[in-house]
């Protein structure tokens, strides 16, 4: 018993040295090496993962083994198109998560118009490998948008879009990053000078995001 406690204490010290977060109850036992008093109760068990494990019984944090349930991301890829895009994802289950996003269009690629736009999207994600929100996933999302461009003339754009993509999300410490690719179908209406037309198109949908897990 004493040998076992010494080994455990040594392992904990090693883990702390490596900078790995460990549960509070795994601190070195101050009475290690001494004989246990007769009236001493058994130490409480190590705290369980925040989430109940179903197939991976570990609380280790890191790629493919996170115990975080939430991820907040800035979608960096769309910044090239003038967007500030935020996305929140919450794991409901080891393999299923839901997500919602919002974006604002801050500038247009020509840089010569005042352009105000916003849009939102919501969707669900099914994990194929790993525990949500980490791992390899397939997502389906739907959303809507509206834009007003005011420069040499007013251009109003509004519509809906839906699409699917495959991707990967990783969490290292608290940093989350995601990559994805798929296709989106967009349908909407554009208004210019009292004329309007319906437009629709299939587009590749690429995704690159950085953020935090919590």
């Amino acid at each position: 018993m004493i040998e076992a406690r010494k080994l455990r204490a040594g392992a904990v010290v090693a883990l702390v040295t490596l900078g790995v977060a460990v549960p509070a109850s795994a601190d070195p036992d101050p009475v290690a090496g001494k004989e246990k008093p007769a009236n001493c109760e058994e130490p409480p068990p190590e705290p369980a993962c925040k989430r109940e494990c179903t197939y991976r019984c570990t609380c280790r944090r890191g790629i493919f083994a996170t115990d975080y349930k939430n991820v907040l991301l800035i979608i960096a890829g769309s910044t090239f198109a003038g967007r500030i895009e935020l996305e929140y994802e919450r794991a409901l289950h080891d393999r299923i998560s839901v997500l919602g996003g919002f974006y604002a269009v801050a500038f247009d690629s020509l840089g010569n118009d005042t352009l105000v736009g916003f849009g939102g999207l919501a969707g669900a994600r099914v994990n194929l490998v790993g525990r949500a929100p980490e791992g390899i996933w397939f997502a389906w999302q739907v959303g809507g948008f509206r834009r007003n461009s005011r420069g040499s003339q007013d251009v109003v754009l509004r519509g809906m879009q839906t699409g699917g993509m495959f991707g990967w999300t990783g969490v290292w410490k608290r940093f989350a990053f995601t990559l994805g690719a798929g296709f989106a179908y967009t349908s909407g209406r554009i208004e210019v000078l009292e004329q309007s037309v319906r437009d629709r198109e299939w587009n590749p949908w690429l995704r690159l995001g950085l953020g935090v897990a919590f």
Partner: protein, 312 residues
């Protein structure tokens, strides 16, 4: 964290409210012809405004063409338009019936046997629709067989070939204000690839085009992306000048010579030019407007865009 993100968004909106820039017309700078003044156009001079240090020199390409008329060699230089000229095109005239939009943003290619550059498109004032002094003069865009026929009817020729979605004077002002129109339209095409919000068409329209003309450019861009993605997607293709190095004293020029332009533009002209001309009607070449892409003079129409409002 959410509070922080909200703050960022509020700041972005606040910043955007204060970053309104001038419209493209107000930013327009009359192109300078100073570097061409000492030069003389010859029989083999190309027409355009070549970029400095480009593959074609000013001596080889200038906004001037020579031509034979009544047995004499004459020169014609494209006029330099002022901001007031452009404003007049937008404010003094109004298309009586807006050009119809292309439904579903689709367009069927024209039959191959129909000549596109036949006849002229002219501005015909509609005095019967005039709404009092000071209001814009309504006009129709009418196809005529010849310039003489148009002038006899009291119409003013605005470009050669049949009228189309970009023939209006409002769109002409955008053409003049953006001598290098290919570049912003191409940037809109790239935006459309990144963004999923039908933003390509909106981006083109925000240059100042009306909707049908923006659609003609959009359909052209989409078709070029489809047919020429490999050629135009090569590394460095976007930064390549429009023209290839060219011998300015050849035995003779060929109209629409694709050896004059880079491979991406050549592909665009092969697959989209006919579709675009049929939809848009107006091009820089058939309107006599110089662009950074030098063209053979035989492809350029000598048209001066002065449209005095009758009775004003």
């Amino acid at each position: 964290m959410p509070r922080c993100s909200t703050t960022v968004l509020v700041l972005v909106f606040a910043a955007c409210g204060g970053c309104k820039t001038e419209s493209p017309l107000e930013e327009y700078e009359r192109p300078s012809y100073q570097r061409f003044e000492e030069l003389e156009a010859g029989r083999h001079t190309l027409f355009g405004l070549p970029p400095e240090n480009g593959p074609i020199t000013e001596a080889c390409c200038m906004p001037t063409c020579t031509y034979f008329e009544d047995g004499q060699l004459r020169t014609w230089t494209a006029p330099q338009y002022t901001v007031e000229d452009l404003q007049a095109l937008r404010d003094d005239w109004e298309l009586a019936e807006p050009w119809p939009v292309f439904e579903e943003n689709e367009l069927a290619p024209p039959p191959a046997d129909v000549p596109i550059e036949q006849g002229v498109c002219a501005v015909l004032p509609r005095f019967d629709l005039k709404n009092g002094e000071g209001s814009p003069m309504p006009y129709d865009l009418v196809d005529y067989e010849t310039r003489n026929e148009a002038e006899q009817e009291g119409a003013m020729v605005t470009h050669s070939g049949k009228c189309g979605a970009c023939s209006s004077l409002r769109n002409l002002a955008v053409y003049i204000a953006n001598p290098n129109l290919t570049e912003p339209v191409r940037r809109c095409g790239i935006t459309g690839l990144i963004d999923r919000d039908l933003s390509r068409l909106a981006c083109i329209a925000s240059l100042g085009f009306d909707l049908p003309c923006a659609q003609a450019w959009d359909i052209n861009t989409r078709n070029t992306q489809k047919e020429c993605l490999r050629v135009c997607g090569e590394p460095g293709a976007r930064k390549r000048p429009g023209n290839k190095p060219y011998d300015c004293n050849p035995e003779g020029f060929v109209p629409d010579d694709i050896n004059l332009v880079n491979s991406c533009l050549a592909c665009d002209e092969e697959y989209s030019l006919r579709l675009f001309r049929d939809a848009a009607g107006r091009s820089r070449r058939n309107s006599g407007l110089p662009s950074p892409i030098c063209r053979t003079c035989i492809d350029v129409r000598r048209i001066e865009h002065r449209y005095p409002v009758p009775g004003r």
